[in-house]
């Protein structure tokens, strides 16, 4: 029996990125991906989707990723859901220097390939 697919919510204002991540991740058969391009609708989407992990862009118009993460933390339904940042604001060197975490939260520096994304997701989904 196949493992149940992990539910991943991808929040990024760039629709091409969310679409490519959804395509690639779902093709692995391991993930069910919901995408949200508006940071303002992200909390509602998360509450309705019940994700196992949320991938968050950092710099978005209107509301940035760290604020959204705080919102998720404040929500009883989402406070235990792991968050991975996917950002263009950090470099790979910085990711390396800080051992993949900034402010205690894991993150990926754009551009990142599928292999690294899956590795990161699996690490943070706790098996």
């Amino acid at each position: 029996m196949d493992k149940p697919k992990k539910r991943i919510l991808v929040v990024d204002d760039e629709a091409s990125i969310t679409r490519m991540l959804k395509l690639n991740l779902e093709r692995t058969g391991k993930f069910e991906v919901m995408t949200e391009n508006s940071p303002h609708h992200a909390l509602t989407a998360a509450i309705s989707f019940h994700p196992d992990l949320i991938m968050l862009d950092v710099l978005m118009p209107g509301k940035d990723g760290s604020e959204l993460a705080s919102d998720f933390q404040a929500s009883p339904a989402l406070k235990h859901v792991p968050v991975v940042f996917l950002t263009a604001a950090a470099t790979k060197d910085e990711v390396k220097t800080h051992h993949g975490k900034i402010g205690g939260l894991p993150f990926l520096a754009k551009p990142v390939d599928l292999h690294e994304v899956i590795e990161c997701l699996e690490q943070n989904l706790g098996g």
Binding site: E14, S16, I17, M20, L21, L23, N24, R27, L59, L86, A88, A89, T91, K92, D93, T97, A109, K110, P111, V112, D113, L114, H115
Partner: protein, 726 residues
């Protein structure tokens, strides 16, 4: 009875008597002739009971008085009226003395001649007494002394004027007195002085003698002027000689413009006052009587005119001298220089206020008769004295002698002194005149100027040295300036890159994900499609590398400082480049100094720097060669070049120098200037990012170090030098 001899005696007696009578007749005749010819005459007054009862005037009375004996006999009071009214009292007094029995002194007085003129007579009386001693008559001898009296009056006037002139008063003081003396001594009544001025006569002074009163005439006449042809004065000026009239009232035209002439004045005379033959003025004198003026009087008045002219000239000259003296004194007293006069014994005779101030004296009396020894230090006084002795001996002046002077209060000055001999009328040196100018200020300024010039000269030398040094450093600065320009460009690129990076990474993310997706979708092995996707993945990674390096250029790069060994770091970097070295057939040579201290550095970043440097060097040797990596420890003072790199270093600091030398072709001049510019590259397109050395320099600079690249002096390639502070 008379004896015979008696008749003879009688005859003789008769003859004698006849002879006596003859002689008496002749004598009487002579006497009468004498009486008729003389200006003297005798009158006889018979006295009866002490009173004059009859008077008989001798025939000579007509010559003296103009009246005949018969006229005197017919008019018993004529004799009284003939006497000048001013003298009548004196004549009456004389007669009373005689009637009292006394013999008075002869009396000189004036009479009015029948023709109106005044004449002077001398009246000598001789009393006759009867045997009882009673006065029965007296004779009077009248002598006409007019001529003598006029001479006497003239002499008296001349003498009085001479006395006034000798008083040496001013012209204004003297001239009215002279006019008054003329009136008083000549017994005339009005005198006036006209000053000759610009072709006209200006009435300057007038005096009046009783019975005329000054107050009646003088006030309206003040400042009166008339032409050179008006009045007696004008006539005299016009004709250039003295003129006179016995009675001006007979010539109304002559006195028309001069009111006093109508105040009962008759005789008038004007004589000239000359200075060197030129007419300076005219004196007019008037009498209320008809007067005779003879040549003698005119000559005397002419002499007076000359004397007055000389006096006036003297006064003019005195006034001129006084003006000059006053001018000279004003100059001497007010010139801002010390002026003094000394006698031949070097004693002060005159000192101006400036010099007295220098001497510390308040009044001339404190200085007069003293010498410099009384005021100045002995050696200074002796020097001055010796100088003056020379002047007196040779008669030669001493010009512009600069000398230090110390005054009584001990203040020091510098004076520029000139001393010239003072000569008397005979040309002998009688003293000296000294002029001293205080040049202390000028002297101080000159000294200050000299000092300033010396300083200037010294500074000039320093300046020359500095200019030389500046020129030397100028070239270096030009080079540094170019580097700074490049740094500024780099700064702006870094700022831009930070903004651009974020925007570029999102599309890169999409592309990378797209490549991943397409690769996964490639179910059939397709070499061509696989190649394209691999190139695309590589392109995305290269783009990301460029972005990363650009971001490194931004100032916000964080460093992790640790004390680390540069030699070890170099070895690790070289190891990373090992495969490239082998591929490029390049031999690496390490010449590492064993005594390098640990440095505070960020090892991964410095590794990145040296890896970049190595890669660049390797790429400069496409046909193989040798890569030499050399390290050494350098004291700051040992080399100027490194000092220029670290201008703010202390002299005792040490530097670690890393040199990476290749054996390539070296760089062009342009490349040497631009090699640290972002995106500048000499490599083929696609081979390098053009950011490697820019990033390297940024990192080195953030370590407080410097990096430069030069061609090897022997033309055997390029050398990259990195200098790091210990």
């Amino acid at each position: 009875m008379r004896p015979d001899g008696g008749s003879m005696k009688t005859e003789i007696s008769m003859i004698e008597r006849q002879q006596a009578e003859l002689a008496r007749d002749e004598s009487e005749l002579r006497y009468r002739r004498l009486l008729a010819a003389t200006t003297d005459y005798i009158y006889t007054v018979k006295v009866d009971a002490g009173c004059a009862s009859a008077t008989i005037h001798g025939p000579g009375c007509q010559a003296v008085t103009g009246y005949s004996s018969a006229e005197f006999t017919a008019d018993p009071y004529l004799w009284y009226r003939v006497i000048h009214e001013d003298d009548r009292a004196a004549v009456v007094a004389q007669a009373e003395l005689i009637l009292k029995g006394e013999t008075p002194q002869p009396l000189e007085h004036r009479i009015n001649h029948k023709q109106g003129r005044v004449r002077w007579i001398r009246n000598t009386t001789i009393p006759h007494h009867d045997p009882a001693g009673r006065l029965v008559a007296y004779d009077g001898l009248i002598s006409d002394i007019t001529v003598r009296k006029q001479v006497e009056l003239l002499l008296a006037a001349q003498y009085a004027v001479a006395l006034e002139l000798s008083e040496r008063g001013s012209w204004a003081e003297t001239m009215p007195k002279v006019l008054a003396q003329l009136c008083r001594k000549l017994l005339w009544h009005h005198a006036v002085y006209w000053r000759c001025e610009a072709g006209r006569l200006v009435r300057e002074y007038g005096v009046w003698r009783a019975p005329l009163r000054e107050a009646d005439f003088e006030p309206p006449l003040v400042g009166m002027s008339q032409s050179m042809n008006e009045g007696l004065a004008g006539r005299a000026a016009k004709t250039d000689e003295a003129v006179w009239r016995a009675d001006i009232s007979t010539e109304p035209a002559l006195t028309r413009n001069y009111p006093p002439a109508h105040a009962g004045l008759h005789c008038g005379c004007a004589f000239l006052i000359r200075i060197n033959h030129a007419i300076a003025g005219v004196v007019e004198i008037y009498s209320r009587e008809l007067q005779e003026i003879d040549e003698r009087m005119l000559a005397t008045l002419g002499t007076l005119g000359v004397n007055l002219g000389q006096f006036l000239e003297q006064k003019n000259s005195d006034a001129k001298l006084e003006t000059e003296r006053h001018l000279l004194r004003t100059l001497v007293d007010n010139l801002p220089v010390c002026i003094f006069v000394k006698d031949t014994e070097s004693r002060f005779v005159l000192n101006n206020p400036a010099h007295m101030h220098l001497l510390g004296a308040a009044t001339p009396q404190e200085v007069l008769g003293k010498t410099e020894q009384d005021f100045f230090p002995p050696e200074q006084a002796a020097r001055s004295c010796a100088e003056e002795e020379g002047l007196f001996r040779t008669g030669q002046p001493v010009h512009d002698c600069e000398e230090p002077v110390r005054d009584r209060a001990g203040r020091e000055y510098w004076f520029l002194t000139t001393k010239v001999p003072l000569r008397n009328a005979a040309g002998q040196v009688s003293g000296l005149v000294g002029i001293g100018r205080d040049i202390t200020q000028r002297k101080m300024e000159a000294q200050a100027l000299k000092l300033a010039n010396t300083r200037l000269a010294r500074r000039g030398k320093i300046l020359k040295t500095m200019v030389r040094q500046l020129k030397a450093s100028h070239k270096e600065l030009e080079r540094t300036q170019l580097q700074l320009i490049q740094a500024a460009k780099l700064e702006s690129v870094g700022t831009l890159a930070a903004g651009v990076a974020h925007e570029v990474k999102n599309p890169l993310q999409t592309m990378l994900m797209g490549v991943d997706y397409l690769t996964d979708r490639l179910t059939q092995p397709d070499q061509e499609l696989g190649g394209v996707l691999a190139d695309m993945r590589e392109a995305v990674k290269r783009a990301n590398t460029i972005i990363r390096e650009l971001l490194t250029l931004s100032a916000n790069t964080e460093f992790q400082w640790v004390m680390a060994d540069v030699n070890g770091l170099l070895e690790r970097a070289l190891h990373l480049a090992k495969s490239t070295l082998i591929t490029s057939r390049i031999t690496a040579r390490l010449e590492l100094a064993p005594d390098l201290p640990l440095l505070p550095i960020d090892p991964p970043k410095l590794e990145q720097v040296f890896l970049n440097v190595f890669i660049n060097s390797i790429q400069a040797m496409p046909h193989g060669g040798t890569l030499t990596v050399r390290t050494r420890l350098l004291a700051m003072s040992e080399t100027t070049r490194q000092q220029m790199l670290f201008g703010n270093c202390r002299g005792d600091e040490k530097l670690v120098v890393v040199e990476v030398a290749d054996t390539g072709e070296g760089l062009t001049e342009e490349a040497l200037l631009r090699v640290f510019d972002p995106f500048f590259t000499t490599k083929p397109i696609g081979v390098g990012t053009g950011l490697g050395l820019s990033v390297a320099r940024k990192i080195i600079e953030l370590h407080g170090g410097a990096i430069e690249i030069k061609n090897a002096p022997d033309g055997t390639g390029a050398i990259v030098t990195v200098v790091l502070k210990t």
